[in-house]
Amino acid sequence: MVGIAVLFLAFFVGYPIVYNIIMSVQHVTLGNIRSFDRPFVGLANYRFLIEDPLFGVVFWNSVIFVAANVGLQFVIGFALALFFRLGFPGASFFRGLIVGCWILPPLVIGAIWKWLLASDNGVINYALKGLGLLDGKIYWLSDPSLALTAVIIANIWFGVPFAMILLAAGLAGIPDDIYEAAALDGAGSFRRFIWITLPMMRATNYAVLTLLTIYTMRAFDLIWTMTHGGPLDSTNIFPLWSYRLSFELFNFGAGAAISATMIVVVFVVALLYVRSVRSESRL
């Protein structure tokens, strides 16, 4: 019974991965896309990418994008999870509303944020002006020095609810009597957080951090809607570059080379995640 589903996945996930690696060492154009017999070019596609001046730009954009998203989604998600755990009327209702934002299609999120951040008539510029923080306009999405920050803000907004519910589930797993015992011994709330919450959450934190890393690499839809990778490649990250090479420049070999490399990265992070989750559930 496992057979059919595994065969389906083997053909539609396993095969594309293998095929992708093969394409990354071939010269693939629109002309020979239908044939299986394509010129083998060794590592030329990889060399082409590394020698491209865009490589450094895309590399640093990707690193900043992933690091800022994972770090801030984790910290904000943790803070919200702790806050809603305080147990006050309406806590689970408010938390539920926030989770609702995560289930919206990323494309819609990108569209909304593009409108919020619009330089003319965007409500965020008005709000900043109203608070006296701003005189003129901020060109969030058309200023190359700001666009990456803008898409990071939108993506953090999108990812925080997920971090929050996973961390809340981890927090709910810590037995209350440990806190009570520590409180009796005179430990204040800060010390209880450092000496009880953080150590007890280690396995959850690990799983959440790896998951957030993986999901951040999925941010294609949102960036594509908001900036298309621009202006001047200031929001171009590896998945976007790969897509543009394949579907705008029809250099499928180079697109495949980026995909192949990124798939390896995702695999490594995913294995760390699977290991953390499985060791946790065995406890």
């Binding site: 389906f8 934002c101 294995l271």
Partner: protein
């Protein structure tokens, strides 16, 4: 020294604490939901109000003009139909393919099953932008480019691993003794599965089905790249057509987005609690 005055103040603070927290919670939730509110508010504004300075928080003269426009001029019906068709087909295909495999993964214990499970968990995380290049070439060779079937098959590769993991957990929670008892009473294995196990897994199926549908309904990369005929595109690609340009028609775009997210919002409101617990179970177990 604490006088009676400070004691009183502390007492009031303690009594007021839940309501103070309630207020902070309300503030955080309102701030968080503001973007979604802004989408709705913008959809009901007239063009002149949309570009009014300063913007109006609540539409002064709400109008349905933008909604009329997207249904009459933008083929909203067709986009929605395509999205629902793709979402529904992916959900059905995913659940059918996942059922047998998830059941076997839950019941059979062997090192092979462990290996397959890890492979499935890893394949769950590959994002479409990284698989779309080989997918496109493969579907081109199969002559399936420009069909919704290609989009459905491609999207199912994303939802199937997720459904397998979640349904496996559901089946694992159903005591095997129930099936064994039925089989002792002469019920064949397959019919024990359909008559005992499957009904008990009903809630799991609803949650997994809902989450799979939401994912498939919001899929963007596969239809964008595998189909280039406008009348076959789902609403994600339609929305992108609105907002992808530098200067978008924001009132109509927000009306389009509001209509598009409606099914997702309905699903979430109906199943909120179960979705939250299902998501956590799926990600951490």
């Amino acid at each position: 020294m604490t006088g009676p005055g400070t004691m009183l103040a502390l007492g009031i603070l303690k009594a007021a604490r839940p309501w103070l927290l309630w207020l902070i919670g309300l503030f955080i939730a309102s701030l968080y939901l503001f973007p979604v509110y802004w989408m709705l508010a913008s959809a009901f504004k007239s063009p002149s109000e949309l570009f009014a300075a300063p913007p109006t928080l609540i539409p002064h003269a709400p109008t349905l003009a933008a909604f009329h426009w997207i249904f009459e001029r933008e083929n909203m019906y067709l986009y929605m139909w395509n999205s629902l068709l793709i979402g529904g087909s992916v959900t059905a295909l995913t659940l059918v393919l996942a059922t047998g495999a998830a059941y076997a993964l839950a019941r059979v214990r062997s090192i092979w099953m462990d290996g397959i499970l890890v492979a499935i968990m890893v394949s769950q995380v590959l994002p479409p932008p990284l698989l779309v290049t080989p997918m496109f070439v493969i579907f081109r060779q199969l002559d399936l480019v420009n069909t919704q079937l290609a989009v459905i098959l491609a999207t199912t590769t994303r939802t199937l691993p997720f459904a397998l993991i979640m349904l496996r957990t559901t089946f694992a929670q159903i005591p095997i003794e129930l099936e064994e008892a039925a089989r002792v009473d002469g019920c064949p294995r397959l019919s024990a599965f359909f008559r005992i196990t499957l009904p008990l897994a009903r809630v799991g199926y609803i949650v997994v089905g809902a989450l799979v549908f939401v994912q498939a309904y919001g899929e963007f990369v596969y239809p964008l790249s595998l189909v280039n005929k406008n009348h076959l595109q789902p609403a994600t690609v339609g929305l992108y057509g609105f907002v992808g340009a530098d200067y978008a028609d924001w009132g109509n775009a927000m009306a389009f987005a509001s209509v598009f997210v409606l099914p997702v919002v309905i699903i979430f409101v109906l199943l909120q609690r179960r979705i939250v617990s299902g998501l956590t179970a799926g990600a951490l177990k």
